[in-house]
């Protein structure tokens, strides 16, 4: 036969489902013969039942959404930014590479930089420029002459008559 002190200890074990069959049987026998321990057992059962029926305290929805925003939302935003960056980076790289290549080509193929042209180079450049201007002038004169002869020969005038601004042309 167990004492009241042991019975109280076993009541806890019984509440927690950690009592063996032999001890459970001994406890039951003790409770049958001990009104005081029986009251305690009923009181402890009541405590247990009351605790399990405690009103829940749900986390407010806005607080939970804030958590999701700070965690998953933030991570998703970061991932989206990284993804956009990854999409842009190859093009930026290509553009930079092309720019560098062009710059390199210019450096390699272009004329070496000279500080000041010599008087001889200046004279030669003037001569070349005069020759170019003379050729251009000759070309213009030839074009004028050809146009004039064609107009006078009547090759252009009939066609010009069909244009609005040449209807009253003496041609």
């Amino acid at each position: 036969v167990i004492r009241c002190e042991d019975a109280r200890r076993l009541l806890d074990s019984r509440l927690d489902g950690e009592i063996g069959p032999v001890e459970d049987h001994e406890l039951a026998r003790h409770l049958d013969g001990c009104p005081s321990c029986r009251d305690v057992a009923a009181g402890l059962d009541l405590v247990s039942a009351e605790l399990r029926n405690l009103a829940p305290a749900p986390l407010p929805d806005d607080a939970f959404l804030e958590v999701i925003e700070r965690t998953v939302g933030s991570a998703r935003r970061g991932e989206a930014e990284r993804s956009a960056f990854r999409r842009v980076v190859p093009w930026v790289g290509l553009a930079a590479a092309a720019g560098l290549a062009a710059f390199g080509l210019l450096r390699v193929a272009g004329p070496p930089p000279s500080p000041e042209p010599s008087p001889l180079e200046v004279a030669r450049a003037r001569q070349e420029a005069r020759a170019v201007l003379s050729l251009a002038s000759g070309a213009v004169r030839t074009a004028e002459s050809t146009a004039r002869s064609r107009v006078l020969a009547g090759a252009v005038a009939p066609a010009l008559r069909h244009l609005p601004f040449h209807r009253k042309s003496p041609l």
Binding site: G43, L46, P56, L59, A63, V72
Partner: protein, 169 residues
């Protein structure tokens, strides 16, 4: 733990985490802060925490965060004394605790409010959450023998409080 798994776990345990914090702190705003902080910490440690172990991890984090707040309150001399008081027999809860208990609602709520923070946590983890002795001892960071003594003492005090309040089986 992936983002999707975290979101599922957080949704599943958010009310439990908040409720536990509310019971330990008895302050709605602080409980909200602690619950959010615990969930954010789970996110930060998601690579170390298995989904199956997340409930215990969260409640342990809540418990530690609540103890920190209790200590800060004690330093500021606001409400509770040091949470280690859970080891001390406290037949008279004192005017502050009685005042807090008065606004807690039902008899069991008032009785709970009169327990020390760690005793209260132990009882709630056992009776409400259904954790085993070993799990509770790990969550609270106390030896098994200390936990059993704490549970025994708390149940006795809750029973006596209910009896005193006229709540009988």
């Amino acid at each position: 733990m992936t983002s999707g798994e975290f979101e599922r776990v957080a949704r599943e345990h958010k009310d439990r985490v908040h409720g536990h914090a509310a019971w330990l702190l008895r302050d709605r705003e602080e409980a909200r802060d602690v619950a959010q902080e615990a969930l954010v910490r789970l996110w930060q440690h998601r690579s170390d925490v298995d989904e199956g172990a997340s409930r215990g991890w969260l409640l342990r984090t809540v418990h530690n965060l609540c103890l920190d707040r209790h200590r800060r309150r004690a330093v500021r001399g606001i409400v509770d004394r040091d949470p280690e008081e859970a080891h001390v027999e406290d037949p008279d809860p004192g005017p502050e605790r009685r005042a807090l208990a008065a606004v807690m609602g039902g008899a069991i709520e008032q009785a709970l409010a009169c327990l020390g923070a760690r005793d209260r946590a132990a009882v709630l983890l056992r009776e409400v959450e259904g954790f085993s002795y070993d799990e509770i001892a790990e969550i609270l960071g106390i030896p098994l023998g200390t936990l059993k003594a704490s549970l025994h003492r708390s149940r006795e005090r809750l029973r006596a409080s209910l009896e005193k309040a006229g709540v009988r089986p």
